[in-house]
Structure formats: structure tokens, C-alpha cells
């Protein structure tokens, strides 16, 4: 305990991919950086073992058992109620509290936003504009891609100042067939950029098709925040794990002067610093700010706008599953190698949400077997059906853009606390008609794709009942106006000159692409500004 630092130039809260890469950048620039992570260190081999021994193979959280002091949401076999669902729609965010954060169990999709995603209010009269442009963030996209190791060849209409670090991961056979069969239609099947080595990179091997990206890449071909955290440590960042920051402390001038954390013995520690960077994800970060109540800050810190915790966005999704008229063998290779991305933008966004469709290549064997067994099949007939169906199974999953709605929000419960006495979050969440209309259009698209693939047995997900995609955005929104936003164009709090907030929680728009690369780019950007304050 006596070796644990009690002060640093920069204190980073949350050792996920965003915090770790920001910390790495600042340490390399000469700053003395301390990173506090609420959860434990995570180790790949143990996670792989946990996965193989788990009875809930479809639950990405199961290989990552939570510590009592760092609870995290879990919904299988039942909701653990860590997030108190106030509705009307459930918000089933599955995030990890541990070194490296949620990118341990992500799909590795490393998309950039489109330039128009930064201006949807100016262009389409909906949502919010960003206080920065795509062009201003572009250098940090390049930097993030280089750190992570992004493979790709897709132009995706996001202008690039340089090539991808690696060539694209080649299409699986079945997706190439799908691309060929959909050619000439409105659906352009393309390689998505991936945080996945197509060739050896950065001392890590190329993907060899374990088809286990979610919940864990067994060989580190897929990037995760644990790699970033290790790099940060190697660069001199001190990481204290199992340190649950529960309060931030500001002085009379509004400068953050310290944070307080509880250790596994519930002993409180105080850590002071010159500058603070908050990257504890889009739910835990606002929780900390809102819990940091004082006489001077009755609504919590960084919250003069009353926007902390509000404008919660994610990517609700719909799906279709069917059997193609030829074998396609989805489930071989990486889990999300391809998508239909070619109509993410357009004037339609005035009326309904930007949409993207993933070709989901998660092995279907388990799910199909469960269904067939429940239907009473056994023996050779069961084996033949498993073999036949798994060879033709196709799953398409859409991602819809949410708009920022202040009533979609999280706030600390006044009555419910976790085992370490920290108030848990209530989640208020609803899907707007903007999303429901996108569902309607997407279903029509799904039906057309099923037809083009000679599909049978199509099952469409239900309107209004959407998957969640763990892309937590909006809760500490960026903006020019301090009355309407939490951080400025540098990701600096409007209220506290030495507090920077990074990750996806500051994004003013969710668009329809996975948000990790954008959150990481923002964190690399803020690191430059944070360095100027020490």
C-alpha cells in the first residue's frame, strides 16, 4: 500500500482503450501519469479458460466475473439489476470493469464516422452538430488506427490522409458469394475496417479464425484495451487496479484537485493531481460526476448545464436470420468481417435513422442445435440438420442511429447502492419514432436481401424490440455552448479547466457505426490539450 502513488501530473480514471492510449501518449511526452481502474487486471489465458468452461456461451460477460467492488451489468441467466431499468425500453449495456475495459469482448470493428455525421443538425435538422469537424479529428483517427492496428481497404467515404496500417482481412467464402449475388442491387457488401491483424503487426499474430472475437480473441490478433494498458505501463504509466473512484474533489476556483477511491478493503484513498482525465465509459463516468456532490456543486461536477448523464445514445439493432439457397458457411473466420455500409448517409436522415447492416459471422452451430434439440430431433436426423442448416445460415444485424434526447439519461439512485456503498445508476431509455421508422425501411431491405439470396425460413426481429450494441454515447456531450454541453471542442469540461473527458460518452452523434475508434481518436486529441495544462 505504501508504494501506491498519491499524486501525479495527470490522473486518468478508467483504464480502457481510451484512457490507456491517452495515458500512453501523455507518458511518452514526459508527463507523470497515474491511472486508476475500478476493476481487476485481466489476463487473456484465464478469460479463454473461463469462456470454454462457461455454460452461457452467448453471454459476452460470463468469462469476466465481476469483483464485488466493481460490479458490472449482466443479463444472463437473469438481469443482475446493477443498472436499474426505469424504461420504457430496457437498456442492456454490457460493459466491463477491468484493465482494458470493454474492448476485451468487442467485435473489433474500427469504423470512422462520415464527415456528415458531425453535422446532422445543420444538414438534416435533427440531433446535434459536433463542435469540431471530421477534418479536425482525422489526424487522430490516423493515430488511433496506427496504435490499434486497423486492417482495411474500404474507402467508406471517410477521407483519409494515409493508408490503413494493414491490408484488409479477406472476405470469408460465403460473404464473397453474398457480395456477388447482391451486386447490381442497392446493397454493396464490403469489407469493414477491423482492429484485427491481417498480417503480423506490433508483435501480435494475424487472425487465424478462432471465430471468438466476442467474447475473447484467444491469440490477441484482435486489439483490446489490455494491450493499450500494457503499452502505457511499459511507457511508465502507473496503473492502480481495484481502485474504485467514487468522488472527485474541486476547489473554490473550480479546479479538480483530487479524486477519492475505495480499495477492496473499503479503505478510502485520496489522489491529487494537476490534471484529470475521465475515461470510465459513458455510464460510469457520468455516475462519478453526478455522485461528486458538494455544497458548491449540488448537481455534481462538470454539470452546470444539467447535461451530465443525459442524451444517452447507443445503437439499437434489428435482425433477420434465414437459410440461403446455397452453402455460405457463416461462422468461419472473424465474426464481423463485412457489412452493407453504402447508405449510411442521405437526406432520408431528416425522417429516419442512419442504418448500417452487419453480416454476422458468429458460428451458428450452438444456437441451431439448441433449436433442433428443442424440436425433438436426435440421432442422424439431428446431425444432418445441424450440418445442413449451419452451412446455409445467414444472420444480418442492423445498427440504427439514435438521436440525443435529454430524457434518455442515467442518474444515481437515491436509494440503491452497490456493495461498496456507491449509488447505482437508474437508466431512463426510450426508442424514438426516428428509430422505428428506420426499422420499417430496414425490414423492407432485409426482405429484398432474403429474396436475392433465395432465402427460406426467414425470421425478422420485432419492431420496437431492439438489440443493444454497447456503444454508449452522448452522456457527457461535446458542444460549444456551456449551457447545452459538458465538454468543449478539446474535450475539456466547460466548468473545470483541468478536467478532460474522453471516450465515446462525449460524442454528440452516434451515427450508425461502432463508436470505439471515434472515442479513441477523441481521447488522443484530448491528451494533447491535457499536456498543455501541466
Amino acid at each position: 500500500m505504501s508504494n501506491i502513488p498519491t499524486s501525479a501530473d495527470v490522473v486518468v480514471i478508467g483504464a480502457g482503450i481510451a484512457g490507456s492510449l491517452a495515458a500512453l501518449k501523455m507518458a511518452k511526452a514526459g508527463a507523470n501519469v497515474l491511472m486508476l481502474e475500478s476493476g481487476p487486471p485481466l489476463f487473456r489465458d484465464q478469460i479463454v479458460e473461463n469462456f470454454r468452461n462457461s455454460p452461457l456461451k452467448g453471454d459476452f460477460m460470463d468469462p469476466y466475473p465481476a469483483k464485488p467492488w466493481a460490479p458490472q451489468p449482466k443479463f444472463q441467466p437473469a438481469d443482475n439489476n446493477y443498472l436499474i431499468q426505469k424504461g420504457p425500453a430496457p437498456y442492456r449495456a454490457m460493459y466491463l470493469r477491468g484493465t482494458g475495459g470493454t474492448t476485451w469482448h468487442w467485435a473489433g470493428q474500427a469504423y470512422r464516422l462520415l464527415p456528415n455525421d458531425f453535422r446532422i443538425n445543420s444538414l438534416y435538422g435533427v440531433g446535434r452538430d459536433w463542435p469540431i469537424s471530421y477534418q479536425e479529428l482525422e489526424p487522430y483517427y490516423m493515430e488511433a488506427e496506427r496504435h490499434i492496428g486497423v486492417s482495411g481497404d474500404y474507402n467508406e467515404d471517410s477521407p483519409r490522409s494515409g493508408p490503413y496500417p494493414m491490408p484488409a482481412v479477406p472476405f470469408p467464402y460465403g460473404m464473397e458469394r453474398m457480395r456477388q449475388r447482391l451486386a447490381g442491387s442497392k446493397f454493396d457488401v464490403s469489407n469493414g475496417p477491423q482492429a484485427r491483424n491481417s498480417i503480423p503487426y506490433d508483435g501480435r499474430p494475424a487472425c487465424c479464425g478462432n471465430n471468438n472475437c466476442m467474447p475473447i480473441c484467444p491469440i490477441n490478433a484482435q486489439y483490446n484495451g489490455g494491450i493499450a494498458a500494457r503499452a502505457a505501463e511499459d511507457a511508465g504509466v502507473k496503473i492502480v487496479t481495484n481502485a474504485v473512484v467514487y468522488k472527485m474533489e474541486a476547489d473554490d476556483r473550480g479546479r479538480i484537485v483530487a479524486v477519492h477511491y475505495l480499495d477492496p478493503n473499503k479503505v478510502s484513498h485520496r489522489v491529487s493531481g494537476k490534471t484529470f482525465v475521465l475515461t470510465a465509459n459513458g455510464l460510469e463516468s457520468p455516475k462519478l460526476l453526478l455522485n461528486s456532490v458538494s455544497e458548491r456543486y449540488p448537481n455534481g461536477l462538470a454539470n452546470s448545464s444539467d447535461m451530465v448523464g443525459r442524451n444517452l445514445m447507443d445503437h439499437p439493432g434489428s435482425s433477420v436470420q434465414f437459410f440461403a439457397d446455397e452453402p455460405v458457411w457463416f461462422g468461419r473466420g472473424p465474426q464481423r468481417p463485412a457489412a452493407i455500409n453504402n447508405y449510411r448517409d442521405g437526406d432520408y436522415r431528416r425522417e429516419f435513422a442512419s442504418t448500417r447492416i452487419d453480416l454476422a459471422s458468429t458460428s451458428p452451430v450452438r444456437a441451431l442445435t439448441e433449436k433442433l434439440v428443442a424440436q425433438g430431433y436426435y440421432g442422424n436426423e439431428l446431425n444432418d440438420k445441424i450440418e445442413e442448416q449451419s452451412s446455409r445460415y445467414v444472420l444480418l444485424k442492423s445498427l440504427f442511429e439514435m438521436l440525443p434526447d435529454p430524457e434518455n439519461r442515467v442518474l444515481p439512485s437515491k436509494t440503491e447502492k452497490d456493495a461498496w456503498g456507491i449509488p447505482r445508476l437508474e437508466v431512463h431509455y426510450r426508442f424514438p419514432e426516428y428509430v422505428n421508422k428506420a426499422y420499417d425501411h430496414c425490414k423492407t431491405d432485409f426482405q429484398e436481401i432474403v429474396k436475392l439470396m433465395g432465402g427460406t425460413g426467414a425470421i425478422y426481429s420485432e419492431r420496437g424490440v431492439y438489440d443493444n450494441n454497447q456503444h454508449i454515447t452522448g452522456t457527457m456531450v461535446m458542444g460549444k455552448d456551456p449551457k447545452q454541453s459538458v465538454v468543449d471542442a478539446q474535450c475539456r469540461s466547460h466548468d473545470h479547466e483541468n478536467l478532460f473527458i474522453g471516450g465515446t460518452g462525449v460524442m454528440p452523434s452516434s451515427a450508425s457505426v461502432n463508436s470505439t475508434l471515434s472515442g479513441t481518436a477523441l481521447s488522443l486529441m484530448l491528451a494533447e490539450h491535457a499536456l498543455k495544462t501541466i
Binding site: V48, P55, P65, I216, Y378, N383
Partner: protein, 166 residues
């Protein structure tokens, strides 16, 4: 919940496999050769009618004897009427000429489902309290071994997915 007491038995092959590539066939052999018998139960003590049931349910796939043993051991500890139920299930299967099996006796149906889920999915128990007893050598993955590996096991060659399965 993860049963860490079982972890060593399931993973004494798996811990090595975590970072090394194997073909599907080599994987099966490895699993058979390196996973120890569970709980010290003598394989020859298995009820022959249970072995018959396991083979009937698995069809042309020959289930790993250790897998059968584990399913048997788990269900024996959970169902006092296992020994009397298995012959009844065998009789129903024999009478069922084709198509899905229908079992109207709910207690018998429950045991039947536990056996077939144990063999094909490596999971027994209830939806609220499932237990993993096997993974890489379960019957469903054996049935598709020409095309699919169990997730987290690599087929061995970078970019193999570009081609059709052989």
C-alpha cells in the same frame, strides 16, 4: 456460473490449445488423450443402457466416451430415477421410426433433454442454473467438424475462411 472445480479437467488440453492451432481432427484426439476421467468414476461402471442411449441420440457421430461418462455422472447425481428412466427412453426411441421424438411424460422428457443437451451442447441443468460439463468434444461440433471448429479453436491456417470447407 462457472464451475472452477471443473476447469482443470476441461482445460488441461485447452490451456495449451489457447495459443496453438490445431486441425479439427487433431483437436478431438487431443481432447480424448489428455482429459482425465472425472471424479474417479470407473468407465466400465457406466450403465450399458445409458451408453446405448448416448449412441442412439448421437447417430453416426461416435461420442467421446469421456463425454458420455460426464453426462452420466452429472445426471446420476441429480436424478434418483435415472436408472429406471433410461430404458424407458430407449424403448421410446426404438418405437419412433422417424421424425422428432415426442415424450409426454414430463419427468421422462426432462431427463431425455438433459441427456441430449449434455451430449450435443455440453450443458446441463436449468436455464437459471446451467452447468458446462464439456465443450470442444460435444456431439454438435463433431457433426460439423468438416466445416466448423468450436469457437476459440483455430483451424490452423490464416485466411482459411476464404475457401469452402474441404
Amino acid at each position: 456460473m462457472i464451475d472452477y472445480t471443473r476447469r482443470r479437467l476441461l482445460s488441461c488440453g485447452g490451456a495449451v490449445i489457447a495459443t496453438v492451432s490445431f486441425s479439427g481432427i487433431a483437436l478431438t484426439r487431443y481432447a480424448q488423450a489428455n482429459v482425465a476421467p472425472s471424479n474417479g468414476i470407473d468407465a466400465s461402471a457406466l450403465d450399458p443402457s445409458f451408453v446405448t442411449l448416448a449412441h442412439t441420440l448421437s447417430g453416426k457421430v461416435v461420442p467421446d466416451p469421456l463425454l458420455i461418462q460426464r453426462v452420466y455422472a452429472e445426471l446420476q447425481s441429480r436424478y434418483v430415477n435415472l436408472a429406471s428412466s433410461v430404458p424407458k427412453i430407449n424403448a421410446l426411441l426404438q418405437a419412433n421410426k422417424s421424425g422428432p421424438l415426442e415424450i409426454h411424460d414430463s419427468a421422462l422428457l426432462e431427463i431425455y433433454q438433459q441427456v441430449i443437451k449434455g451430449l450435443y451442447l455440453g450443458v446441463i441443468g436449468t436455464s437459471n442454473a446451467p452447468k458446462c460439463i464439456a465443450f470442444e468434444n460435444i456431439v454438435s461440433y463433431q457433426a460439423v467438424a468438416k466445416a466448423f471448429s468450436p469457437p476459440s479453436y483455430c483451424a490452423g491456417q490464416v485466411n482459411f475462411w476464404v475457401n469452402k470447407p474441404l
